[in-house]
């Protein structure tokens, strides 16, 4: 057993953290949100060109740094600390993961583009009736002479307004809820027949509803075997969930720090509120949730390469625990901040909003507990 980071990982963390401290403070982030398109595209370019982090998880033969899940975790934790609105998870972890799994031309063409910051991939797995179950989808893909034609509605696709490509799940067979018949497509964002309705999210991201109206995505859009994508989709979602855990851990740690600092300077009844024992114990309980979130992010990340059941168990335990802890920590942070915590004026409120969304991203506590219970019963049987 070894819990230490490699030198590369340490440098990755330091350089990203320094960059975000300098260029991604609260005021800068607020300015980005107010830009046309709701973000500053220069940041992503800087990730690629100044920091060179977008290749962290790609093999060297694709021009990457040859890192793995732990490198992703380090990056996500730092992005979480800054509540950065950058599509690293979507593009590098999920999109990149799908390309590496598919291999071939797709990977060879697009991965260098990802690393260069030119290719941004959004992941369209959810639908209006899917809730958190990726197999409950109704979008259809049919093969015709000219490739694949997609029809359906994908919901809350994060980063879709500015993505160059979209990774889409669609049925080539089977009915909603069935695992068989789900296929995975990588399509270009500008394809005819795809319309978007773009909007900001409550936590400052940009997302879209994607409508496929007999969109012909060409013959090469299919990744992997037709109808057999659920194994890969599960794996991609588990990786995304583990990355979300790391992000949430970073957000929780930072929100705890902000709250601790505030409590030390905020005076009430003639003393800093940090002198009140109930505030102290609440801050301690928050710290314990933050530290356990970090532990759980490690745990999930380090088990991503185990067989599917063990991977799923590790990831769902992490997300279930963190979803609960994130809610407690976020609500406590606002309560300790008092009125000012409920305004848009302080960073704390924005961290709270982001944490609230992370609670349910890729499945809320109930979803992941149900997944664990199904495994518990399968083991008992």
């Amino acid at each position: 057993m070894d819990f230490s980071f490699t030198e590369t990982q340490g440098m990755l963390r330091d350089s990203l953290a320094r960059y975000l401290r300098e260029r991604y403070d609260f005021d800068s982030r607020q300015k980005m949100l107010a830009m046309p398109g709701g973000r500053d595209p220069a940041i992503w370019k800087a990730f690629a060109e100044e920091l060179g982090i977008l290749g962290a998880g790609f093999p060297e033969e694709h021009g990457g740094l040859g890192g793995g899940h732990v490198d992703h975790m380090v990056i996500m934790e730092e992005l979480g600390r800054a509540i950065a609105i950058e599509p690293y998870l979507d593009t590098c972890i999920v999109g990149g993961g799908a390309l590496l799994a598919a291999g071939g031309d797709h990977a060879a063409t697009l991965i260098p583009g990802i690393i260069a910051g030119d290719v941004i991939i959004a992941f369209a797995w959810a639908e209006p009736k899917s809730r958190y179950n990726p197999a409950r989808i109704e979008t259809r893909a049919t093969a015709d002479g000219a490739g694949w034609t997609l029809s359906g509605h994908k919901s809350v696709v994060i980063a879709a307004p500015y993505a160059t490509h979209v990774l889409v799940t669609a049925r080539t067979g089977g009915a909603s809820g069935e695992r068989d018949g789900v296929s995975l497509f990588l399509v270009e964002a500008g394809t005819a027949g795809i319309t978007r309705r773009d909007y900001p999210t409550v936590d400052g991201w940009m997302a879209s509803e994607l409508f496929f109206e007999r969109a012909n995505v060409g013959p090469h859009a299919l990744l992997g075997a037709e109808g057999q994508a659920m194994g890969l989709v599960d794996e991609l979602l588990d990786r995304a969930t583990a990355a979300t855990c790391a992000e949430a851990a970073g957000t929780m740690r930072r929100l705890h720090e902000l709250t601790l600092d505030y409590a030390k300077q905020r005076q009430q009844f003639g003393q800093p509120i940090s002198k009140f024992q109930v505030i102290q114990h609440r801050l301690v309980d928050m710290l314990m949730e933050a530290e356990q979130a970090v532990s759980m992010a490690y745990q999930a990340t380090l088990r991503l390469d185990l067989r599917a059941a063990e991977r799923a168990r590790a990831v769902s335990q992490a997300k279930a625990k963190i979803a609960k802890g994130a809610r407690f920590l976020g609500q406590s942070a606002i309560q300790i901040h008092g009125g000012i915590g409920i305004t848009n004026e302080l960073a704390a409120g924005h961290y709270f909003k982001r944490l609230t969304m992370l609670e349910s991203r890729y499945g809320d506590q109930d979803h992941h507990l149900a997944r664990l219970e199904a495994m518990m019963m399968a083991e008992a049987a």
């Binding site: 959810a126 209006p128 009736k129 809730r131 958190y132 179950n133 409950r136 919901s155 809350v156 909603s176 809820g177 309705r197 909007y199 900001p200 999210t201 409550v202 936590d203 991201w205 997302a207 509803e209 905020r266 005076q267 009430q268 009844f269 009140f276 109930v278 505030i279 809610r327 609500q331 606002i334 309560q335 008092g338 009125g339 915590g341 409920i342 305004t343 848009n344 004026e345 409120g349 709270f352 909003k353 609230t356 969304m357 349910s360 809320d364 109930d366 979803h367 507990l369 149900a370």
Partner: protein
């Protein structure tokens, strides 16, 4: 002991119910449920209807325009309002400054202000909190210096709800800086159009403009606008705080909120495609919440009957405040859980007057902002920590 209403009480309930059904403005229906922001005219329209019926101020003495109802009638009235999901009558005039004026004011003050509070002609706001003061109300620093027949007021207030619409505000100001924190405070009524009054919006997490900062810069306030004695404003403030806390349990509103939650959970599907309300775990959360609400309801009823620990509106209302706000917040938590991914889209960001429909189901688009916004309930009116301090001191003798 008997839970049943008398025949007279039942008749009253029917009368109230019928009046609401016949008179509540059609354009307001549903707005409350969905957590929509309301405009000034929206808020005033229902106030004026109740005023014309004589029902806008249930707790006021008849001599000042109250309907002369019993406690049970007032309870029934508030239940029926919540049941029909009416928008609330704003508390700043009717429940807050009005009772202070009829209790502590001069005959001239009563005559001048009370009728216009009832009619809704004057919109009131509350100038209590100051930046940095929080729950420590008595630490206020806004100064009022007596100059002839005026006070000259300088300072800053914050969290002033709906001050952007206000004609008048009631303010706590320090008139004797040398006195102890709770002494040397006076209670002033200030015309919000006075020179030197500036209202600046505070935007809250859901994007709402509900609260404001109010800056007071050399504002001249006639001495006749002071309520009660100079330096005795804390008496009015304490009276008002106790008054404010009655009804804070919000039982009837929370009942309505749970019904709405159930409706949403019938419409939303769980991971297996069944209605969320049929999902055992979601259902259990609702069932537990209903238990909590019943316990709160009967604790409030016992309090109204003077049966709970302590007597009259006092420390035990702290219990109602704590549990009431926990339930209100829990409802918004569960609504947000229920709507799943469609809690994320931020509809408020669309340009005003846009006729675009919200993203996702109609019940979803206010779920997150309402959840964010309701975090305030455990902070305002004396934070829930302060309420526990009050109970520890006043009920437990600690």
């Amino acid at each position: 002991m008997d839970l049943a209403f008398t025949p007279e009480e039942r008749a009253f309930r029917d009368e109230v119910r019928a009046f609401i059904a016949d008179n509540y403005p059609a354009e307001l229906r549903g707005k409350q449920d969905e957590g929509e922001e309301l405009g000034k005219e929206d808020m005033l329209s229902w106030h004026r209807i109740l005023y014309r019926k004589g029902w806008v101020a249930p707790a006021w003495p008849t001599e000042y325009g109250g309907p002369g109802w019993s406690a049970t009638q007032r309870y029934i009235f508030s239940e029926e309002l919540a049941r029909a999901d009416t928008i609330p009558v704003l508390p700043f005039g009717i429940n807050m400054v009005g009772p202070v004026i009829y209790t502590f004011g001069t005959p001239a003050q009563k005559e001048r202000f009370l009728p216009r509070i009832l009619s809704g002609d004057d919109w009131w706001c509350q100038g209590y909190s100051e930046p940095g003061a929080g729950s420590d109300l008595a630490s206020l620093r806004t100064r009022a210096e007596r100059v002839g027949d005026h006070y000259v007021v300088n300072g800053q207030k914050t969290w002033t709800t709906l001050a952007q619409h206000a004609d008048w505000g009631f303010f706590l100001v320090r008139t004797d800086p040398a006195a102890k924190p709770q002494e040397g405070i006076s209670f002033l009524l200030i015309d919000m159009t006075s020179p030197g009054v500036t209202v600046r919006p505070i935007i809250t997490l859901g994007g709402e403009h509900e609260v404001n900062e109010v800056w007071l810069e050399n504002v001249k306030v006639p001495v006749e606008n002071r309520i009660f004695e100079e330096n005795k404003g804390w008496t009015c403030a304490k009276f008002l705080l106790a008054h404010e806390r009655t009804g804070i349990a919000g039982v009837a509103r929370s009942k309505r909120g749970i019904e709405r939650l159930k409706g949403i959970a019938r419409a939303e599907l769980d991971d297996t495609g069944q209605p969320l309300l049929a999902n055992p775990f979601f259902r259990r959360k609702v069932a537990e919440l209903e238990c909590d609400l019943t316990a709160l309801e009967f604790t409030e009823l016992r309090t109204l009957a003077g049966e709970a620990s302590g007597k009259g509106p006092g420390p035990e209302s702290s219990l109602l405040k704590v549990k009431g706000t926990e339930i209100q917040q829990r409802i918004t938590e569960l609504v947000l859980e229920a709507v799943g991914q469609y809690g994320a889209p931020y509809f408020r960001a669309f340009p005003e007057g846009s006729n675009e429909s919200p993203i996702g189901p109609a019940h979803a688009h206010r779920a997150a902002p309402t959840y964010f916004n309701m975090r305030k309930t455990s902070i305002y009116g004396g934070s829930n920590e302060i309420q526990r301090n009050i109970i520890a001191k006043m009920v437990l003798g600690l």
